[in-house]
Amino acid sequence: MKKTKFLIAAAIIGVSSIVAIAADHIDAPAVTGGTNDITDFYAFQGQNTSNLVLVANVQGLLSPSSTANATFDENTLIEFNIDTNNDNVEDLVIQATPRNGIMYFFGPAAPLQTGLDSTILTNDAAGSVEITAYGQNAITATENGMQFFAGPRDDPFFFDSGQYNAIIDGMATSFNNPGNDSFAGTNVLSVVVEVPKSLVGGSGTINTWVESKRRQ
């Protein structure tokens, strides 16, 4: 009975899930395949345990041959949002935006306004780093106690999304063992920021998310 119900549900949902791929890769029509398409977001304690690391990946499923030509969009703002008082409204943001081969960072600082529209916090410049080119060793920068990186990386996400979609589409009833990592051998464009925890709340639990925004 359980299996039957699942298969019926899968058949119903299947039609609408053809483009359902992964973590957040190509998740929605307005951003799929665009320079603003966020693929993944990570937040974890740094090698220096006094620091927090934030990672935003965009432009997923880059093949090695297409990675060299992939670039960050100068009309794009990548914004890490940090809620320190558990109301799910950002109290602090860290912004990243590229100009002429350099990724510029601002914050962490209170945004001028919360929500969907942002302006760049030019009074809170944190630092910048040369965007690492494909095939080049990672270029990092340390300023104001923060570390910065921007450039192509291996997509850290792993998932047999092919088999998941086959299940959802009613073409299969279970995962395979071993599974097949649909993201093996693909790259993303990464922005990595390491920031002292003291600048993003200090202690306790914070709520975080990442946004991509386009200049109007």
Binding site: A9, A23, D27, V55, T119, K213
Partner: protein, 188 residues
């Protein structure tokens, strides 16, 4: 003496003129800094992995991406619950829960506010067997965790109700991560 003094004055004037010229040149040739003006309008957002992909119905994905987290629960919790119950037989019976003890209403309520909770006090992981939702590390097998919570039922961690659906059997990345900044592996 007088002659030397005249020379000194002439030199001072020359330097002053040169300085003025240099300054003038600077005004012409100093490059302008990058332009950071303007308003940037949201197009995409994410927090917990795969939430938008799995729980947001296809016609709502763009609107989910431009709904602020504080507004997401009221707008999307029922959609999440319907999609969760439609997807997984583990919530068929009244009172069914997942391994976290959450009913479909509670679990969808948690997920519908799409923020990543991050601890500033220690281990940061999506789930490591002990800590739950204290961050997301690169090596976390987030998909299997989510499959367990979607399909596994009450005993999902040890004895899944739908074992073929609660692990994709891809347990690690295809490249080793770095122990130091920038942590992510070099591109292929």
């Amino acid at each position: 003496m007088k002659f030397n003094r005249i020379k000194t004055i002439a030199l001072a004037i020359t330097i002053a003129l040169m300085a003025f010229n240099c300054n003038n040149d600077d005004n012409i040739t100093v490059p302008t800094g990058p332009d950071f003006t303007g308003t940037y309008i949201q197009e995409d957002q994410m927090a917990r992995p795969a939430v938008g992909t799995v729980f947001v119905s296809s016609g709502s994905k763009d609107s989910f991406n431009v709904t602020t987290p504080s507004q997401q629960s009221s707008a999307f919790q029922m959609m999440f619950q319907n999609n969760l119950e439609g997807l997984s037989p583990a919530y068929s019976n009244p009172g069914d829960t997942n391994a976290l003890g959450l009913t479909s209403a509670q679990f969808s309520g948690l997920l519908a506010t799409d923020v990543l909770n991050v601890s500033l006090d220690g281990t940061t992981t999506f789930f490591d067997g002990t800590n739950v939702l204290t961050g997301r590390a690169l090596a976390d097998d987030v998909i299997t965790v989510e499959l367990i919570l979607i399909f596994g039922g009450e005993t999902g961690l040890t004895n899944s109700e739908n074992p073929g659906l609660s692990d994709d059997n891809v347990n690690a990345n295809d490249k080793a991560f770095l122990s130091s900044f920038p942590y992510l592996a070099t591109p292929w």
